[in-house]
Amino acid sequence: MERIKSIKQLQDLEATLAAARKSDRPVVTVCGGIGCTANGCQKLVAEFKKLISEKNLGDKVELLVTGCLGFCEMGPVVVVYPQKTFYKKVQVADAADILDSAISGKAVERLLYTDAEGKKIEKEDDIPFYKNQKRELTGILGVIDPESIESYLAAGGYQALAKVLSGMKPEDVINDIIKSGLRGRGGGGFPTGKKWESCRKAADKLGASKRYVICNADEGDPGAFMDEAVLQGNPHTVIEGMLIGAFAIGSDEGIVYVRNEYPLAIKSLSAALAQAREAGLLGKNILGTDFSFDIRINRGGGAFVCGESSALIASIEGFVGEPRAKHIHMAESGLNDKPTVLNNVETWANVPLIIKNGVAAFTAIGTGDVTENPWNGSKGTKIFSLAGKVNNTGLVEVPMGATLRDIIFGVGGGIKNGKKFKAVQTGGPSGGCIPEKYLDMPVDFDELSKVGSMMGSGGMVVLDEDSCMVDFAKYFVEFLCEESCGKCTTCREGLARLKEILTRITEGKGRADDLELIEAVCETLSQGSLCALGGSAANPVLSTLRHFREEYEAHIFQKKCPGKVCKKLIKFSINDNCTGCTVCAKNCPQNCISGARKEKHVIDSAKCIKCGVCKEVCKFGAVTVE
C-alpha cells in the first residue's frame, strides 16, 4: 500500500475502499479463529479456494477468512453475506453446497443452527447466542480480514486516529477517555483516562522526553482467550488505540508484550505492524503531522507472573519477570525508568471506539454514573471467554451490568448434557467461584469483588454438579504454586503449604482443624505478598471455602467427595444395567474388569485406578461412582 500522506488522503481512501467493498458478490466468510483452527478450518478454507478456482467462481463469489466469529462450540463456522446465513460444524464435504447456495441465495438446510426447541434458524442475528450479546468490539471481527489493512480501513478503521490528529489536543483525548469511564479490562479496573493523565502530568513535570506505551497481551489466565481473539482478528484496532494513547501522553515508542503461546496472534500483529508502517500510520510524521510513533513486539517466555505490570516491564528489559514494589508509580518510572502507560489489549481496542463514536455512545452502555468520577461505574461492554460445562462455549460480549444468568443461560444456552449449574469461576487464578444464588447479580468491576471474585481479564469457566470444588481450588493452587516467581516468602511458601493441605483433604486425610489453618495461611498470603497476583492468590481457595464449605467438610469428616472427582474418595462399580457387552473390560487399562459375555461384569476395586474410562465407554449407564 502506498504511504498515506495526509488526513484528507486517509479519509478519501476510506471512502473509496468502503465503496469498493459494496460489491454484488455474495461473501463466504470462514472463521479462522483459534477455536475453529482447532476444529480444522484450514482444510475447509483450502477446499473453498480449490472449488472457486476449479469452477471459475471468482467473479461470482468472494471468500473471506476472518478472526474469531465467537461461536466456537459450533466450529468450524461459516457465515454467508449478504443474507448473513450462519452455518455450523461445516465439513470439507459441505463446501460445494455452500458455494452453490451462496450464489443461488437459498440456504443449506442441514447446516443451519437448531435451537433448543428444534427450530432451524437461518440468520446469525436471530440465533440466541448472538441475539443476546452486544458486539461492539467483536462484531467487526466477522467482516474484516485480519491480514488486510484495506479491510480495516473500509470498515471505518483509523478514523478515530484521523479525528485525534485533526486538531484534538492531548488533553482533550485524555478528558474524553476519563469521561467515558473506561476502566482497565485486564482485571484491575483502574480508570484508563486517569492513568494516562497521571503519566502525562508526571512526565511533563519530570521533563521526560522519552515515554512508553505498552500493550499487555500476556493473557496468562488459563481459561481466557479474549485478547487472543481481538489481537488475532483485528490487530489494527489495537495499533490504533495505542497510537491514540501515545499521542495523548506524548510517546514515540510502543511495545506489545504478547504470549509466545499465541502464534496466530503474533503472526497477525506482525503483518499488521508492517502494513501500518508502509501506509505511514506508524513511523515518522504520521499522516503528514509532526506526530511520530512506532510499535515493536516482545514475545513472552511463558510465565504467568509476567502479566503483572511491573514483572512484564522487567521481562521487556531482559530480566526474569519479578514484580517490584508499587510505591514507585509506573506513570513516573516504568520501562527503562521512563514514564510508561500500560493497558491490556481489550482496553486499547476500546479507545478508537470511544473517540470515533463519542463519549455519550460509550457511557450509554453499562452501569453507574461516571460523569463526576470514572470509579462510579463500569461503562461499555466486556468480552468474556465462556468455557467449561456450558452449551455454547465461545467468545461473548455483553454490556457491563448484564447478569451472570444472561451470560451463562441467555447467551451460553445453559449447562451441557442437562446437568445442574454449580458455580462459575471468573477472574482466573486471581478470581473466585460464584455459586448459584448470585446468578442474577449484574457483572461489573465492583459487584464481582463483593462476592469474593473479580472481573479479571474475562475468563468465565462454568462448573456443573460433577465438579469438585476442593479439587478445583487445588487446581488453581497448583497452578499458582508453579507460577509464583518466588520473590515473596508468603506467596512461595504459603501456596506450597496450601497445596499440601488441599492435597491431603482430597485424599481423605484432612484434619479437623484444616479449614482454620487454610484461612490463616490465606490471610497471610494476601497480606504479605508484594504484587497483585500474590495478593489475590488466595481468592480461589477462599471463595470456594466461603460458598462451598460443606464440600470441604464432607471431604474431611465423611471422607466423601460430593462431586465424585477425588480419586482416593470414590469407588467404581457396575450395576444391573450391565448387558455384558464387554466394552468396558476391553477398554480398561488395568484389565481389572471381569465377566462373561452377556453377563454382568465386576470391577476389581483393588486394581482399579479410577481412570473413569469404563464409565465413559459404557452405553447403558451401568457404571456408577460412589
Partner: protein, 159 residues
C-alpha cells in the same frame, strides 16, 4: 563434547543487536533454532554480551518456554488450562504418559517424543486441547491422541 558451531548463535546475536535487553528474545531464537538451549550456545552468549552464565541460567530456568535438555522430534503439548482441566485434560495426560512411559516435561529415550504441559493456549472453547507438533487438536480424547502418537511411532519404525 564436539566443538559447537557458534556461527548461527552469532547470527542470532546480530539480529538482536548484541543487546542485553534482548536476552529473552535471543534465548527464544536459540530455542527455536536448536529445539533447546545447548550449554555451549549459552556460554557463547555470555561471553559475547559480557554477562555471567548465571544471569542466563536464571532466565533459562525462570521462563517456561525454555528447555536445557534436548527435546524430542515430536512435541506433544497438553493444555492444562482451567477450561481443559474441567473437561478432563488430566486424564488425557495420564494416558499419554502411560503410552510413552514418561512424565510431562520428559523426553522419550529414543528422542522421538517430548510431552509438555501448557497453562492455556486460548482454544478454551474446544477443550480439552492437545497440540501435536504445532497442530491444535480440539475436543481431544485419550484415544484420539494415542492414535496420533501410535501412528507417529509406526511411521518412525518404517523409515
Amino acid at each position: 563434547m564436539a566443538s559447537y558451531d557458534t556461527a548461527k548463535i552469532d547470527a542470532i546475536l546480530a539480529k538482536n543487536e548484541y543487546a542485553e535487553a534482548n536476552l529473552l528474545a535471543i534465548l527464544q531464537d536459540i530455542q527455536a533454532a536448536e529445539g533447546y538451549l545447548p550449554r555451549p550456545a549459552l556460554e557463547h552468549v555470555a561471553k559475547s554480551l559480557g554477562i555471567s552464565i548465571a544471569r542466563i541460567y536464571s532466565m533459562a530456568t525462570f521462563y517456561k518456554a525454555f528447555s536445557l535438555k534436548p527435546r524430542g522430534k515430536h512435541i506433544c503439548t497438553v493444555c492444562m488450562g482451567t477450561a481443559c482441566h474441567v473437561r478432563g485434560a488430566g486424564r488425557i495426560l495420564d494416558k499419554i504418559e502411560e503410552n510413552l512411559k514418561i512424565k510431562a516435561g520428559e523426553t522419550t529415550k529414543d528422542l522421538l517424543f517430548t510431552v509438555e504441559r501448557v497453562n492455556c493456549v486460548g482454544a478454551c472453547a474446544m477443550g480439552p486441547v492437545v497440540i501435536m507438533d504445532g497442530e491444535t487438536i480440539g475436543n481431544a480424547t485419550a484415544n484420539k491422541i494415542n492414535k496420533v502418537i501410535n501412528d507417529i511411532k509406526a511411521d518412525s519404525k518404517k523409515s
